[in-house]
Structure formats: C-alpha cells, structure tokens
Symmetry: C2
Subunit: 340 residues, 2 copies
C-alpha cells in the first residue's frame, strides 16, 4: 500500500498538517523540520501529487568541477547533446551547478524528490563527494559521466574509452622514437583518472618502456599545475608529455616556452578532449578527442534506459587520436639536456 | 571521385559488360569470376544503384553457434528485441545463420555489399572465425554480441557485465559457507569466456579462497560436457558449481543425480542466462540473468549509432543474480565425501 501523509505524521510524531506544510514548502515551519519531513517522505516512498504529475517530465543535469557556459567549455556540448535527445522525448531539462556545500545541505534523493526529477545526469563529480556515496545506493535513475558505480541497477556509466585513447597516443609517440613519455594526469580521487593512470602504465609497459614515477603527476585539470610538475619531468628526461586535458597541455606550453624549449622540436605535447582551444594555440595541439556532443547523447540514452528499467551498466565511446603540430620525432638527447 | 564500372573493368582487365554481369548476378558468367568482380568492387568502394537504394533499408543479424527458433532458445529474445527497435525506424531485418563454411565462401564485406545491408549484428561468433578477423578491420557498421574488437570505430560491443554477475554469485555462495566453488565455463577461444574466467578467478581471490585448476573447465555451452568435468570437480572437493550457461547446469544436475548427490543439500549449482529451462527443471535453478530482450535492443542502439558515425565502443547491461532452489548452505564435508 502506498505511503500516506498520515503514515509520515505518525512516524515523526507530528500533526498531519505539519507534514503537509513540510511537503509543500510552506514558510511557517522551520527549515530543519521541513528537511526532516522530506527525508522521511523519501525514505517511506511517499510522493506528492505535484511530484507524481511532474516526475515524468523533468530531468536534471548536475555539474561540478566543470565549466559549460561558453562553447569553448568542456561541458557545453555534453549538455547540448543531452538536451537535443531529451527534448525529442518531451522532457524538460534543468542544469544545476553543485559543489560540496550544496551536497551537504540536502540529500541527493531528497533533492530529486523535492524537485520532481525523474532522473539525473551527473557530470564532474569526485569519488569522495557526499552525493557520490548516496548515488552509489540510490534508487533514482542516474547517469554518471566518467564515474562508475558497481552493483546498483539504477546507475549507469557514460564515458570515453581512455584506455584506447592513451594507447593510441603512446603508440604514436613510440613510433616517433620517444622513450621517456611523461603523463600529467587530471585529478586524483577520480574514477576516470585512475583508469587513465592504469592505461598509461599499461601502454608504457606494453611498448617496452620503463615506468618512472618522476614522469607522472596529477594536474587537477588546471593549466597552472604544469608549473609545478613539468620542470621535474624535464629533469627526468621527458621528451614528450601526455596531459589529462587540453587546458593542462596549454600550461605545459607556457612552461616549455619559459624553459626555452620549442614544441615540437624539443618536446612533444599531447592533450585530452579536443576542446576548441586545441586548434587556437600555437603550435596546434595533438590530442585524444572525446566527442562530447555524442557523449551527451549517450548519457541521455543511458538515463532514459534506466528510467525504463533497462539497467545499462556502461556506455563507452571510442576516442580518436588527432595528430596536429605539437608532436615530432624525439630529439636524440632529452629535451632539457639539449636546451642547456 | 566515385569508382565506376569502367574502373573495375580496367583493374581486372575484362570487358565492362562482364563487370556488369558480375555485379548484377547474371547467370552466364562463372561463380569464380562473379566473386572476383564483387570482391574488387568492394575493395574499390563501388556500389550499384540497387545497393545504394537499398542500403539504408536493410540490416542483418548473423547467428552462429546459437539456437533462436524457439522461445526457449537463448537467441530468440535477442533477435526479438533488436527487431522491435529496428522496425520502429523502418528497417528491414534479415536473420542469417552462418558457420565456418559460409564464412569461407565469401568475404564479410562482399556479402554485406552484395545484399545491400547497411549494418550487421553478429551473435555467437568465435574469436578464430574468419569473419571475426575481417570484422576487426571492417568499415561496415557492425555490432557484436559478447565480442570486443579494439581500435575499429565501426564495430561496437554489446553484452552483459559478466564480472558483476559472477561476483554476485560467488559472494552469495561464500555467504552460504562454500569454499570450493567450481566453474564450468563456456567455450575457450571466446572473448566472453575469457572475461568470465578472469571474473571467476578475481572473485575467488577477493573472497580469500584458493584457486584450484581442478575446479575449472570449459563446457562449450553443452549440457553433455558436465559428464566429463563434474566427476573431477567433485573429487577435488567442490561443494558448488557455477556454470557458463543454464544448459550446462542442467547437465550438472544429471551427473549429480547419477552420483547420488542431492541438489542443493549436497551440492549447489548456479547457471548463467536465465532461459526458461531454469524454472522448468527441479530444483529450480539459481542463475545469473541476462536480459536478452534488452540486450537485443541495446544491440540495435549500438548498431544504429555506428551507422550514424557515433562510434560506440561498448554497451554493457547489468546482470541480476536470481536465487532459486538450487543453492543452499555448504555441507560440512565436501559433497563427494559425504555421498560415499
């Protein structure tokens, strides 16, 4: 039998009118009590008429640690692709920016229920996020970009096959004679960064090269990180630097310029993503392309399947290695030695 | 510039009329010559008007090593799910049974071109199949059930996450006190069997159990295989047997009956797939369920994406562990010892 307002009231030991106020967001009860009412309603599977009416109409895209407002931004086309598909099926799609404060204010399921969302596409979440822990056990259909949750039939992963992308890039560098290939990865504590780290290490080993800890670091997807890590990589003899995204690569460009190193003559640089920046900088950046528009579309397909009880675990797109001006044959000596 | 009949004729050193006869299947040229004309046409990227007209209308499902005619059969719902989705988009779908002879008679791409198919869904292929080698380099959109091809943007994988399924099953057995869990896998030389073997070994290790080669064997998806392998597994102390599919599990039932062992009191048995047979045998079979209707639908989604140049690498469904009568607490001694 469906849960009623009475059930919630008796569980909480409050009046039915109080529950009703809490559910309908009336201003004359405290925020704490309203929250408790909502949390309990979710726990007991209660849905208001408004929620029921709206629940097949609204989806939400949560964005964290990621820009999307400009066409240049990584998240832009992801959202566009998702919306293009969702609108065909007459969904309304809201985009909501979240951070850790936001996540600590309200439980994931409570937020979803309160706003009558049938499902969410979450982009840019970190493994230690409060909501990620809640999502790992949620019964609300949720598609995750670059994050994988085991054993939950309501949650699906969408992403690009990093393994294949990094493999293609490393192979191309090896073909050009590079032996000391550094990797300036994205953020630690991220599922996708872990996969890429593994992929990098496998590719290095498969190509008969030596793994050197001095050649890897985390760049947090920030251009500035290059300043801290690139000098050490050059000292360790790197002749090529593979980056966790194109922004990091642009930071590597700046550091190399300061060190008096020419790209690609002295050092080869490869990005990840292929955002517009990659063709705007000089020399143009070779990169591992993710088709973000298609990723967004696949995210919708995955979410829509989950909503219809088709439990997709993973949808993965193939990356493409885009060769531009930033790579060349390895110089005989390491980049730094040659430049000194 | 597009290839013309003349180009093909001059490449082959034959008359234009001969090429035309070959392409149109006229009866007055030899089969060998017709084949050569077709192969050359494919190689040179030539398409007849008929091919061009039909190519956006027809898809094909190739089936090898798999039954599908009856509702009971593993392949039945896979085909149904695929067709349900494809018909909505006005595709014609043909189902073609293939074997190694069939594959050696004609190249994959030639067959596809000749029949004007825009794409294929291939079920049940083995890694060493001639066509699998051709598919690994094909430029024709192809979705593969349970087979993965690296680096080819025209080929996508569809399957169930075996890892998660086997994990769920082994965990449940461990909870019931089982320590010697055998695995009677499907066919060797199959991508999915390799994944499952890995998954089994990981699950055994993760649960702190000992890997024992005497507890694993390949059952080729055939019930009869149990006769050869189960006695040895029992001798090695197995108290539970995990099977590559439900058919193999039914074979295990027979062997256990002959050995005087009761399921589940003396030995626990788990299948894979959840075909109708699983509830028809006694005791009813616990199994790792693959939703074949949904797999078929995902195969269509993957193929349709590939046709539209969206390069999906993998679409994976979650399995479900269905607990029925065939498993119980491990007996104190190994099954065989108790029965003797």
């Amino acid at each position: 039998m469906a849960t009623t307002i009475k059930d919630i009231a008796s569980r909480l030991g409050v009046a039915v009118s109080t529950v009703s106020k809490g559910l309908n967001g009336a201003p004359d009860i405290s925020e704490d009590l309203r929250q408790l009412v909502l949390d309990t309603a979710v726990e007991m599977g209660y849905k208001t008429k408004k929620m029921r009416k709206e629940e097949h109409k609204k989806l939400v895209i949560f964005v964290e640690n990621m820009e999307f407002a400009d066409e240049e931004d990584f998240g832009h086309d992801l959202i566009l692709g998702f919306q293009q598909m969702a609108y065909r099926d007459n969904w309304t799609v809201n985009v909501v920016r979240v951070n850790s404060n936001f996540q600590s204010r309200e439980k994931y399921s409570t937020y979803m229920l309160k706003h009558g969302y049938s499902g969410a596409f979450a982009m840019g979440f970190a493994l230690q996020d409060l909501w990620m822990k809640q999502i790992s056990k949620t019964d609300i259909p949720t598609a995750l970009l670059d994050n994988y949750v085991p054993l939950n039939r309501n949650v699906g992963y969408v992403g690009t096959d990093s393994d294949e992308g990094i493999n293609l890039a490393v192979k191309q560098l090896v073909k050009l004679g590079h032996k000391r290939i550094a990797f300036l990865n994205g953020s630690p504590n991220s599922w996708v960064s872990d996969r890429r780290q593994e992929a990098y290490e496998n590719a290095i080993k498969e190509n008969g090269l030596e793994l050197n800890p001095a050649l890897t670091a985390y760049g947090y997807y920030v251009a500035d990180s290059a300043r801290y890590h690139v000098p050490g990589m050059l000292k360790a003899g790197a002749t090529a630097i593979l980056c966790g995204n194109d922004l990091i690569a642009s930071g590597v460009y700046e550091v190399c310029e300061k060190e008096g190193l020419k790209i690609p003559e002295d050092i080869s640089v490869i990005g990840f993503d292929d955002i517009p920046l990659a063709t705007e900088i000089s020399p143009t950046l070779s990169t591992i392309r993710q088709d973000r528009l298609e990723l967004g579309k696949c995210a919708y397909f995955t979410l829509n399947s989950l909503i219809h009880k088709v439990s997709i675990s993973k949808t993965m797109l193939r990356p493409e290695f885009i060769e531009r001006e930033s790579i060349a044959k390895a110089s005989k000596h390491s980049a730094l030695k040659e430049s000194k």
